[in-house]
């Protein structure tokens, strides 16, 4: 394996000290005097037609500057399908949907005024689950879906291949996978299992709630400050929605306080734009309360999945048929891409010749869904990986051996019919083999500790390709300081994943500098930085990294060219290191960067070179559109793989459990920053366990979300986590920076299935619904006659 100096090292985050000393400024920490505050009036019903919106009392509150209602701006918006009103008019489609907004001198005044607005509703029958949405007689969430504008060239994650809502139904989109011959696959199978899995929507709950500031200058320039993963897509959307020249829209993104997919959708910014416009362009701030961040802003998708699997008696998988009904909620702009991506990688990392999948994104009267870490894979893997355990159990095979036997290999094809090789596919077999040792698999999958307590282990695999649509890329610019140190300008957003630091490591590695000599701009400003596709899909390091590496090459080329003139040495005999350009064969012949980065002047006034500015751009090659019916196409550059295990201790009397240990072995391609990678995966594992064991919205019969605070929407707290162990294997990817694979999402993907497999074994029942609360386990055992 290739040895690196800086790559792979646990270089602490560049912004570390700012973060531990309270100096980091997130958007809510910038307080510009004179900013007006916006508060949303949100719907009390999940489905209702709006009668009168009476603002008379609200206007009487001193300090109110303007009130805007849906009627004032009857606009439909969306990055893929334009199905979402900016502010609801005619009707509301989910509990918490914005109906009106108050712009006032302070947040307190705005809240007070909002609570004085009276709305008359006429309640409509609700669509309260994706299964209900799929019934022929279901009420329609959107009556005239055929009239919506669709951007078939939208360049958001997973958007490729078009969007096809079915008029007269609640189907927002249907993505198919047709590989091989499904009927023949089942005919060749000795064993067939068919099971149903489900979970409700849930939420990202990044601790920083979404927030946007907008002002409109006299010149018409729109200045947006926002906590977002998508500055460039936002710029485009604002420009096109409000018919503003794109150059006049400027987006600033400071450091972001966590996202996990939440901040990919553009929701508050257009509202804040309208609010600013309503008050003559003054700067306004629209910030979510926690309750709004959970119910009003987009959420993690829910799913009802039917999984049918066929297998020969010696344990070779022959066929898989999947029917996904995703709970996309009331609006589908980002839910559709998630549901499409779930189909592309639907099998998990197994070689199955006959694959059939229909992945439907359903409209319901629930909050609308957006990206969530794993982007469809976490969701699909829960059902598929549980079914694999059920199948292994039926065959009497060890679930780990069963997975090894069916593990996908170079030479196999993906569900999207891409031929796999050592580069575009991680090594899942090796991951499983290492996992087996780390979890002490051979000491037994189930161990009785006492009459009441049993310890069990469950495993799961997962894989993920990114889903950037064709034609997206990134750019980077390098500049130099007079001491020879380097500045990176890249518009990758720092959401806590550590991308910015990794980019400095790449430059330090390539230029043979110390990482302290490379600086990076933490904030993003769309006017200053070259375009960068959204910070999503675990593709940021891939694209921004490649752009940065090209910028390094460009800078080195310039440095050598200048040095060649001064040192009188041919360019190809020169090398760079330690802020010097030197002759390879006699390093004493050298010149410091500090002397040439701004150009060099000879005593006679002649000039060699000019200021060095490294420029690098990158576009992912080889991505194609995806066929909506068969799913054929190349959705991304490589599949990262992970094998995971969870050990639990289950109390058979109380049906409670403790998480004991969780292990992941991932193919990182090349580890870029060891602690960075390890803690990313550990954090994702924790989020996966939290999601699987505690989270999930509860709705009342009228479709209202009941869990809109941390008091009711429970996430994992300190002390409840198991011991985490993470290991990496390294099979580099061709064309990726230093051969690295996407890693930020993989840690979450197999966790729900692994813990469900473990608990199913412990409780001696098949657990097929999330979250795995003690009450749910108790009820399942009660039904199965396991307890009385």
């Amino acid at each position: 394996m290739k040895q690196y100096r800086v790559i792979g090292k646990s270089v602490p985050r560049k912004e570390s000290w700012d973060k531990v000393s309270g100096r980091v400024k997130y958007i809510d920490d910038f307080q510009e005097v004179g900013t007006l505050h916006v508060k949303l009036l949100t719907s009390l019903y999940a489905h209702a037609s709006i009668g009168k919106v009476d603002t008379d009392e609200a206007w009487k509150v001193p300090g109110v500057r303007m009130i805007v209602t849906g009627e004032d701006y009857p606009l439909l918006i969306g990055t893929t399908i334009k199905d979402r009103p900016l502010l609801a008019f005619d009707k509301v489609r989910y509990y918490g949907e914005p109906i009106a907004m108050v712009i006032a001198d302070s947040e307190a005044i705005a809240i007070q005024a909002v609570s004085s607005i009276r709305v008359t509703y006429k309640v409509l029958p609700v669509v309260n689950s994706p299964v209900q949405a799929y019934q022929n007689d279901a009420p329609l969430v959107h009556e005239q879906v055929e009239q919506y504008q669709i951007d078939q060239d939208a360049d958001g994650e997973g958007a490729s291949g078009g969007i096809h809502p079915v008029p007269g139904t609640n189907i927002a989109n249907r993505q198919g996978i047709r590989k091989g011959n499904i009927d023949r696959g089942f005919a060749q199978s000795d064993f067939i299992v068919e099971e149903i899995f489900s979970f409700n929507q849930s939420d990202h709950t990044a601790i920083e709630t979404r927030c946007a500031d907008v002002e409109i200058k006299k010149t018409g320039e729109v200045i947006i400050h926002s906590a977002s993963q998508e500055p460039f897509e936002m710029k485009e959307l604002i420009s096109e929605t409000f018919n503003i020249d794109e150059g006049k829209v400027q987006v600033h993104i400071p450091l972001v306080g966590g996202s996990f997919g939440a901040k990919t959708s553009v929701q508050l910014e257009p509202l804040a734009y309208v609010a600013s416009k309503a008050v003559g362009g003054r700067r306004v701030r629209l910030r979510n309360s926690r309750e709004e961040d959970i119910a009003t802003s987009p959420v993690h998708i829910g799913l009802h999945a039917k999984v049918k699997m066929g297998c020969t008696k010696d344990g070779k998988l022959q066929a898989i048929k999947l029917h996904f009904l995703f709970d996309g909620g009331a609006y589908a702009e980002r839910a559709i891409p998630v549901s499409k991506a779930a189909a592309y990688d639907c099998t998990g990392p197994y070689a199955i010749k006959n694959v059939w999948c229909d992945s439907l994104c359903m409209y319901t009267n629930h909050p609308y869904a957006t990206d969530f870490r794993g982007f469809g894979r976490t969701e699909a893997a829960f059902g598929v990986e549980r079914t694999i355990d059920i199948m292994a159990n039926k065959l009497g095979m060890c679930p780990l051996e069963f997975r090894l036997k069916n593990a996908i290999q170079p030479g196999d094809t993906s569900p999207t019919q891409v031929l796999l090789n050592k580069s575009n596919l991680g090594d899942i077999r090796e991951c499983l083999l290492q996992l087996k040792d780390l979890i002490d698999w051979d000491r037994g999958q189930r161990i009785d500790i006492s009459d009441r307590i049993v310890r069990t282990k469950g495993i799961s695999c997962a894989w993920k390709n990114g889903d950037p649509p064709p034609g997206v890329g990134a750019g980077a610019i390098l500049t130099f300081n007079s001491d020879g140190s380097v500045n990176i300008n890249s518009a990758a957003v720092e959401i806590g994943q550590g991308t910015k630091t990794v980019l400095t490591q790449m430059v330090a590695e390539k230029m043979k500098l110390s990482e302290d000599e490379v600086f990076i701009q933490m904030e993003v400003n769309t006017q200053m930085s070259p375009d960068n596709w959204e910070t999503a899909a675990s593709r940021t390091t891939f694209m921004s990294g490649n752009a940065v590496l090209r910028a390094v090459e460009d800078a080195i080329r310039q440095l050598k060219r200048t040095a060649a003139i001064i040192l009188k040495v041919p360019v190809d005999e020169l090398e760079v290191a330690n802020k010097k350009v030197y002759k390879k064969t006699s390093p004493n012949i050298s010149i410091d960067f500090s002397e040439i980065v701004y150009g060099f002047i000879f005593p006679d006034g002649k000039v060699a070179g000019t200021q060095v500015v490294g420029r690098g751009t990158y576009m992912i090659p080889g991505i194609t559109d995806m066929d909506p019916v068969t799913g054929k196409g190349v959705q991304g550059p490589e599949w990262g793989v992970i094998a995971q295990a969870v050990e639990v201790e289950f109390d058979k009397r109380d049906n409670t459990f403790k998480l004991i240990r969780a292990v992941s072995v991932a193919d990182a391609g090349t580890v870029l920053n060891y602690k960075g990678a390890e803690t990313q995966v550990m954090g994702a594992m924790n989020m996966g366990l939290s999601f699987a064991t505690r989270e999930g919205f509860l709705y009342d019969d009228e479709g209202r979300v009941l869990t809109t605070q941390f008091r009711s929407y429970k996430v994992m707290h300190y002390g409840e986590q198991p011991e985490y162990i993470v290991r990496f294997i390294e099979n580099p990817v061709k064309g990726a920076p230093f051969g690295s694979r996407g890693l930020g999402e993989h840690g979450i993907m197999g966790m729900p299935a692994a813990v469900a497999n473990s608990l199913s074994l412990a409780a001696n029942v098949s657990l097929q619904q999330l979250p795995l609360t003690p009450e749910f386990i108790w009820k399942t055992r009660l039904k199965a006659g396991e307890v009385y």
Binding site: D28, G257, Y718
Partner: protein
């Protein structure tokens, strides 16, 4: 109705004009520019607004500013080169950093009060805060490393309840 009040923050007397209904968090952030305490839920549930009052962690979102008069307040801006800050960096105990001020202050108070803190006490204290990025294992390691370092540091004995 606005009133002027004086708060003892990070060893300084700070004067602010406030509404009586303002929370300590509102005043720290909006009147005193101490934005290290964050708004995560404003409901006492997430702990990202945690500050120390007379050495004890409190959630500044559910404390009236007027109630903080006479208390010695410490915010994250009041820590300088604290071993807990070093430990959080060394153990990678944060990612996005939004919950970090609250976690560090809570942990700081914990090791002051309980130099021999057991896992159980650490759990009791630190489950007052929510982190969504890390796995908590990193935070655990950070706090443990400070406890350990402190035990070796015989020159500075600390005992429980000594503030």
């Amino acid at each position: 109705m606005n009133d002027e009040l004086t708060l003892d923050i990070n060893g300084e007397q700070r004067v602010a004009t406030v509404r009586m209904a303002d929370t300590l968090l509102d005043v720290l952030r909006e009147k005193l520019d101490l934005t290290g305490a964050k708004r995560g839920c404003e409901n006492g549930d997430c702990g990202s607004c945690t500050v120390l009052a007379d050495g004890l962690p409190v959630k500044s979102c559910m404390m009236l500013a007027v109630d903080a008069i006479g208390k010695k307040l410490t915010t994250i801006e009041g820590l300088h080169d604290d071993p807990m800050q070093h430990a959080f960096i060394e153990k990678w105990a944060f990612q996005c950093g939004y919950c970090t001020s609250g976690f560090i202050l809570n942990a700081r108070a914990l090791v002051n009060q309980y130099p021999d803190a057991t896992d159980e006490i650490m759990e009791e204290w630190l489950s007052s805060n929510i982190c969504r990025c890390t796995s908590y294992q990193e935070i655990r390691e950070a706090v443990k490393s400070v406890l350990k370092e402190q035990r070796f540091n015989v020159g500075r004995p600390r005992s429980r309840n000594k503030r």
